[in-house]
Structure formats: C-alpha cells, structure tokens
C-alpha cells in the first residue's frame, strides 16, 4: 500500500480530505500515477500531460526527502514509500508573489 499526499487544489478536485492509499501494479513512479489517475479520472491532465504523460512543469514529486520530479516513470520508489512508512508527495511548486 502506497500513501499519496496530494496538494490542496487536487484534493479538492478529487474530493478527498486526506491522503490517498493505492495499490499500484508496480512500486514505480509511473505506476503510482497510473493508479492514482485510474481511481480519480478527474486528475488526468492535472499532474501529467494527457498525451505525453510528461509531468506538468509546476508539479513536483517528493519522497523521503528526495526530489523524484525528473526521474523516469520506471523509477522504483524508496522502500519506505513502498511499505507505507513514508508518503509519496505530489506538490504544487512554489510561485512567488
């Protein structure tokens, strides 16, 4: 079971109050996102581009204090995330103002 923490606006969009728990087909970055979008189709296009599945520029992926944003989809998630001890974080990047 993998715990996924969504940013505020995506929690509102998906109508979830808290973190999401997923059982992806494989413990990889891409599989977690596939599982997330399968359960919440409204998030398709909000995290990754519809066609290319590239991460949207101002979305970041963090886990265990590591930035996985630039890693390929087949990247295996850290063991602490795979066991559910640590969450996988989807972040809306900081913007000044």
């Amino acid at each position: 079971m993998i715990r996924v923490v969504l940013p505020y606006h995506l929690r509102k969009l998906a109508r979830v109050d808290d973190e999401v728990q997923l059982e992806p087909g494989a413990p990889t970055l891409g599989s977690v996102l596939d599982a997330l979008e399968a359960r919440y189709p409204v998030l398709r296009g909000a995290i990754r581009d519809h066609g290319t599945l590239r991460r949207r520029p101002f979305v970041r992926f963090y886990a265990c204090k590591e930035d996985l944003s630039h890693e390929p989809p087949e990247t295996k998630l850290p063991e602490e995330v795979v066991t559910g001890a640590e969450p996988f974080l989807i972040i809306g990047a900081m913007a000044g103002g």
Binding site: P7, H9, L10, L13, V42, G45, R56, F58, V59, G92
Partner: protein, 371 residues
C-alpha cells in the same frame, strides 16, 4: 417575476450573483473553485440551469466544470483538448515558428438550442467543440488553416476569446483572436476566412492593413441584426454592416478608443457600450475616471456614463469578456473590473451601482435572464 443571474469569473474563483427583476438586492454565492482562475462561465440558452465553466491553473492545467442546477453544484467534465493531427506552428515573438500548445480555455459558447453542444475558444488559438455535454472535445482544425502560420501571440497570449453563433444560421459563426483578427465560417466551422478588411493597425503591425495579425479585443452583435457587428480593437472601435466583409471606424468622440469589451443593448441594436482605457501602455481609465461610453447611433457619437461610477483615483481595467447585458426592460448592463467590483445598471447605463466589491480581479461576466 423574472430573475437575473450573473456569472462572474475571477482570478481566484467563480461567484454567482442573483437578484429579482428589480435588480436592487443581490445574493452572492462563492467562491466556487476557490483559488483557481475562472476564465469564463456561461449557461446554455436551451437549458439555462446547465452551466459550463472554464477552470484553469498554471500548476494543474485545464478543468471544465458543468452544473445542472444553476451553479449550486458542479461536476468536472472532460479536460482533454488535443489538437487535430499534427498541429504545426504559428509565429512566435522572435519571428520564428513555434508549435501550437494548448494552454487554457478562454471562452465557452453553448449552442442556442442544444445544451450538450458547446464551443470552446482556446489558447493557443483554436476552436474546440463538444456534442456530449463536455465529456469529450474535438478540435475544429479548419480555423488554423486560415493563415494560422502568420498568427502571433500578443502579450496576453494567443487566445481565441470571442465566439458568436449566428442566431438563425448556426453554420455561420464569427470568432476573434488576439493577435490574429476576426474570422468567419459559413459552413459550420469546416472552413474559415479572415474578415479584417478595414482594420488598421499602424502601431502594431508593419503592414497596417494586413489580412491577419490585428489585435481584436472583442466583437458583439445584436440577434436581430446579425450582419451588423461591432468591434473593440486594440486601438479603434469599428463596425461592419456586411457580416465582416468590410469594417469602418466609429470611435468618434471617445476620450480613448483603446479598450477591451464592447456590447450591444438587448432591445436597441444601434445602442452600444464600451469602456475607454487610456492606452496599451497604461491599462486604466483616462484621468482616473471610470466611465462607460454609450452610443445610441451605432457609433461615432458617444456619451459618457458616470453616475454611480468612481470619478477620481480609479485605476482599474475592464477585461474583454467582463461586460454583459440582460434582456429585461429596461435593459441591464453589467461589467466587472480588475479591482474586483461588479457594476450594474438597471436603466441601460444611466446609473450604476457596485453590486459586489472586493472580489478577486474579474475576468468575465455573463448574465442570464430567467423566468
């Protein structure tokens, strides 16, 4: 008694204002979709409680929302806007060619008689259509073949912001793009041609009379006179009496002919409204006075409308989709500002009241007249 419902899109959410036919006391609901940019909300003329909203974010992209109950509750619809085929390129700021990239929906135009059919005007400039209530969207690519390789974004982006469906012949439509100009189809959006003859842009284009490239800010028509269109261009207010075959300037005595919105009185097809803005360098009203200008002669002769509007120290802007009229008698006129005020006039513009203030910057205003 009739009711009026104003649909307000802002930089940080949507607001819905309702009042009875007196238009004196307004109830405000919102923010809906708090924190998101709501570029536009519009109701179906065929089913007025069916609303569509364009919800967008620099972080999370495009969402289309749909309501079946006049905005009390909403459901996300489809958000995949994919250009048809290989979209090719358009002109970029540095003169090179740049690939078409979908960014957001600026304007939603529901069909006059089918609540499931809606047109969406997008940035980068393109026209999409749904026939299933927003679940799926298909591009109508014929538009981009109308010299699309010569279109170039202005500072606000290359957006298709105006969609007008002919009231009797739905196969005829008018659209406008910044900065490409106005275009017309007569075959249901299969083919399009520029309709910019008479527009002059000496400060913006190397060829002031170019066929495309003009920064059209808004066009409007009255349903009873569908060959007469009015245009607020970057500079200049214009009209055509030939469905766009040629345009002529009707700026007349306006204090500035720069501005964004233009609209037509619901019952008087020769009465039109604009909000003069000082210049493209200073996006605020001349002399710090917020004035709507009304022409009862289809242009050229304009009167400033000031009662109830701030006449000093006012430096807001009124954006292109932020003006609308109701169809009551007398006609109501509405506009929203980048300062977050929505002003309404229940007497065709003679007097104005702020029906809400201190909203986020207003991006769009639509008004529904309900039984």
């Amino acid at each position: 008694m009739s009711k009026v419902r104003a649909l307000i899109g802002t930089k940080k959410g949507a607001f819905i204002l309702t009042a009875d036919g007196q238009r004196a006391n307004w109830e405000i609901s919102g923010p809906h979709f708090a924190g998101w940019e709501i570029y536009h909300i519009k109701g179906s003329p065929a089913h007025p409680d069916r609303l569509y909203a364009s919800q967008t974010s620099g972080w999370f992209g495009q969402v289309i929302q749909r309501s079946e109950d006049g905005g009390k509750t909403w459901e996300a619809a489809g958000n995949e806007f994919k250009y048809d085929g290989v979209p090719g390129t358009h002109k970029w700021y540095d003169g090179t060619q740049h690939p078409w990239e979908f960014k957001r929906v600026w304007h939603l135009e529901p069909s006059r008689n089918d609540p499931d059919t809606v047109y969406a005007g997008a940035e980068d400039a393109s026209l999409f259509k749904t026939v299933d209530g927003g679940h799926t969207w298909q591009e109508l690519p014929g538009l981009r073949t109308a010299k699309g390789h010569l279109w170039q974004p202005g500072a606000g982006g290359m957006c298709l912001h105006t969609i007008i469906i002919h009231p009797e012949r739905p196969e005829r439509m008018f659209i406008a793009i910044s900065a490409a100009g106005a275009f017309r189809t007569d075959d249901g959006a299969k083919t399009w041609r520029p309709i910019n003859h008479g527009l002059k842009s000496p400060y913006e284009l190397p060829d002031p009379d170019a066929e495309v490239g003009h920064c059209v800010h808004r066009i409007a028509l009255h349903p009873s006179r569908p060959d007469v269109l009015f245009m607020q261009k970057h500079w200049d207010v214009l009209r055509t009496d030939s469905a766009g075959e040629s345009w002529h300037e009707v700026s007349g005595n306006l204090p500035s002919d720069f501005g964004f919105p233009i609209d037509v009185h619901a019952h008087e097809p020769e009465t039109i409204y604009v909000v003069p803005i000082k210049s493209d360098s200073e996006h605020f009203p001349p002399d710090g006075k917020l004035r709507v200008y009304r022409s009862r002669t289809g242009g050229n002769e304009w009167e400033g409308l000031t009662k109830g509007l701030p006449q000093r120290d006012c430096y807001v802007n009124v954006l292109r989709d932020a003006m609308a009229v109701d169809t009551l008698e007398p006609c109501g006129v509405y506009f929203g500002t980048t300062g977050g005020q929505v002003y309404a006039s229940a007497d065709s513009g003679d007097t104005w009241t702020a029906i809400v203030r201190d909203l986020p910057a207003v991006l769009s205003v639509e008004v529904q007249t309900l039984p």
